[in-house]
Subunit: 287 residues, 4 copies
């Protein structure tokens, strides 16, 4: 649900040691900052620390840029990897989609109803079939058909569109093309995919077929950041649904759609609200 109040969200990670929370929260308190939400996590295995703080913008006695400047000294002292974002500046999303439309339809509903704060800058598809629906929402639709010959060129066009749109995140909403390693490397932690299995089971093509063959009693979906390893990036969110012997492959696919929609929209919301910190190949999600 979109908050009516303007918020700053500070996220940081650094080597763990005594006094980090005290330093960060004292810094904020000294500037009059009202913390509306705070979460932290210490990873015991490699002694790393993670934190997310939401500050009511109106309570801070300065602009976010000045905050940023002042905070950088402390960040240096603690060797922090950090950023601060402003809810007044909505994140921009580019959605890539193929023929399957359930995730797109679901995301556009959440966009239209302002379920959380984001702009859909544009939709890119290798098919024409969803143009009318997307344009009804006043969103530009880009038809980029891909084949073996034009792949590299089309990927370049996708990168250009993404950068021209000044987009923050690319969502693969059942996009049936595998992005090139170059694209993946160019936008680390910025490309979100929905895979229609409970990873790491059933990597790659036709996961419902694989699940059906194996006779599993639950099917699932996984939302993850895209890396150059196929379906191997950091997992953001997963969910499952019960199936049984009476479930045909077609019914699995139908049931799976509802899981995919929910898991992808949750994952995207976590990203948009700066709730995700990536550590190695794992995520910390402050939900």
């Amino acid at each position: 649900m979109v908050s009516e109040k303007r918020l700053y969200t500070l996220t940081l990670s650094c080597p763990d040691r005594t006094g980090i929370v005290a330093a960060v929260t004292s810094f904020i308190a000294n500037l009059g900052g009202w913390i509306t939400d705070a979460s932290q996590h210490g990873d015991f295995s490699d002694h790393h620390f993670f934190m997310r703080v939401q500050i009511l913008a109106s309570s801070l006695k300065m602009e976010v840029d000045e905050f940023r400047q002042r905070f950088s000294d402390m960040a240096l002292e603690f060797d922090m990897d950090w950023k601060i974002t402003d809810s007044a500046k909505k994140k921009r999303v580019v959605i890539l989609v193929s023929k399957q439309d359930h995730c797109l339809y679901d995301l556009l509903y959440r966009y239209r109803s302002q379920e959380f704060e984001f702009e859909v800058a544009g939709v890119i598809s290798n098919h024409e079939n969803l143009r009318s629906f997307v344009e009804w929402h006043n969103i530009p639709y880009h038809y980029l058909p891909i084949n073996k010959e034009n792949k590299q060129q089309k990927y370049t066009e996708i990168v250009k569109l993404f950068e021209d749109y000044k987009a923050d995140v690319m969502v693969l909403a059942r996009y049936m093309q595998v992005l090139s390693p170059e694209v993946c490397a160019r936008f680390p932690k910025q490309i979100i995919n929905i895979h229609h299995s409970f990873l790491p089971s059933f990597v790659g093509a036709k996961p419902y077929h694989q699940a059906f063959e194996r006779g599993v009693k639950m099917i699932g979906a996984t939302c993850h950041y895209v890396t150059d390893e196929l379906d191997g990036g950091p997992i953001i969110e997963q969910d499952v649904n019960r199936v049984d012997h009476s479930c045909s492959l077609e019914e699995m696919i139908r049931l799976g759609k509802d899981i995919e929609k929910n898991v992808l929209s949750k994952g995207l919301r976590y990203h948009i609200e700066d709730r995700i910190l990536v550590h190695g190949n794992k995520t910390i999600v402050f939900d």
Copy 2:
């Protein structure tokens, strides 16, 4: 899972204002305290603040009693309701049970396997049937049969046993007697009950019969603190399981047992680990 390390757990609540987290964590940091886990929550509706901090005992430069003394000044300033507990001092539990034994059996397993830190000081029952099993675990068993005439007297005996055992918490593990208002009032936030329905549905007797009659598609269980309102105290934990028309009342009862066991043991663990703060008739559970 029982931690091998000795921990202090500080829980507090107070009117919300700027700087509470900063003050608390700075106080701890200045004493060298290593925070292994921290959670906080601000209730926007009535501007109240809640916090739980776990401190590695060996990192503090003083005994817990000295910490307590020093902290009380700040607590006064912020008008805090607070306490600090020491994991080296295991909480003591008295279990009340009737004929149904699934929750007792489950709790004793978790006790015996040290799944979390607690002592079962004794078991009180209005039946004799579970004596042998309880005594096999080297736990004292008290047979206190209750009828209309001796009710008040038996309640007095229960209170006496509880206080003689210096117990911290009383668990009603499917105890089929309603405690008197006096007992409830004497031990606020210290008596935990498992009710075999998804409260507030099906308050009172025979909830599975009520659920069966209403034709619900899920049954549940609720762990809550006992107050003088029947099944009306603050809810700690709930869970449900799917049922359908083919489920007889007997099968509902069987399925329900597994939910009851899990919900009760979770609720007890939250209590034992000082994860629950009560606010009005609601709980904050830092799980």
Copy 3:
């Protein structure tokens, strides 16, 4: 998922006795009927029997009308309440909606993508805001604003629209008006409502507010047939989602929407596919 094959669906209930399944399946086998799916249920408490059989239309040596005629003799013998439907004749749905659009949006997606077999004949609303979206789907939109004075007249118009459309089922997709007892009585087992709580908890208005106040740890939604008892009709489907103290009322409402959508669409599909038999105030759902 829409089957490409034409199916007849026979549903029946009757007093339980030896030989019902044998009689029904022998009758079908003697006519060459290939049973693609069959389910039965015996209610032990009042000795009533329920059955649903799907027959491949092309395997039967006669039209459905002739089958109907022949079957009626046996039905009489067993004192059956029965019907047979033909998947070639799609059921027609009229959707009633107010300002909240998440359930409508979801149902129209499932309609448009032919997730299961139904026609949306028309949408009726007491607000104008959803006209453009509905009409984009080529579905007629009827604006019937309701106030205290014109209530009865508008109900009459709703009934007329429903009957003019020759609709089979009326779906209250978060329709914020309570239908009159006359309308409820006129279409028994034909009006489906989604209530945004885990019934029987939180009957009536503002169930999320009630849930928030009570401090429950899970929220839910219930799909049920409408009777003249408010939120008291036979329950078709329910589901829940976990919440905790950090969930504001607004977040509960947001989380609840996803449950409502899934529960309502499941309930409607069960109705459309003749999977529901009503017995007293309970449902048998052959899913």
Copy 4:
């Protein structure tokens, strides 16, 4: 829940064709048999049919042996793979266990409380630590320590014990030894294992460690029949539980125990009640 009534359970599978249900149910009806529960399933991919029928023993006009004899003619005609069991003859279970005791403890509770109908004939372990608890339940305990040298000899002893006990099913309740291919082949569909992951993810040793490393957001457990492929046999039942970044490996293991217990006991009950039919490497479970 143990039924007080004696029941015969007929399970069968055969090539699918018109009239199987009619033939089977007519056969039973002609002998006066009262069917208390019936389920069937047709596998469309390879046209195979599966059925399970429960008959009230007292309603049949003959002993089960005579029924068996008469039924065999029809079974031949339909090329059925079939059997009929008698609830008066309790199935006998041998449990194999190592040091971890949560599944054993849980199964013995369900046995002692007669949650469903089975006898625990004996417990075999490669450790001594659980002897006292098992013997408290009046169950024989066999200590068979296994090392590289004596493996084959110990497997032979296990086979001998199983056969001497005239046991029906062997349960690997977190038994940390891999049975030899000979033992697996000797008792097809008679050995049930609980694997502590959501198969096919994390086959083999230390699945929680694997899950922790991969950063999954849910962990699970799988109950399956043992074949000579490690963790590759037909899946009977699965379940999962949500975890997040704050879950240490130790907490995962603790949470996992509750899933393992529930999944294993469900799987065993399905087996005991003849609810499972195996088809290729998949199961049909009539639950």
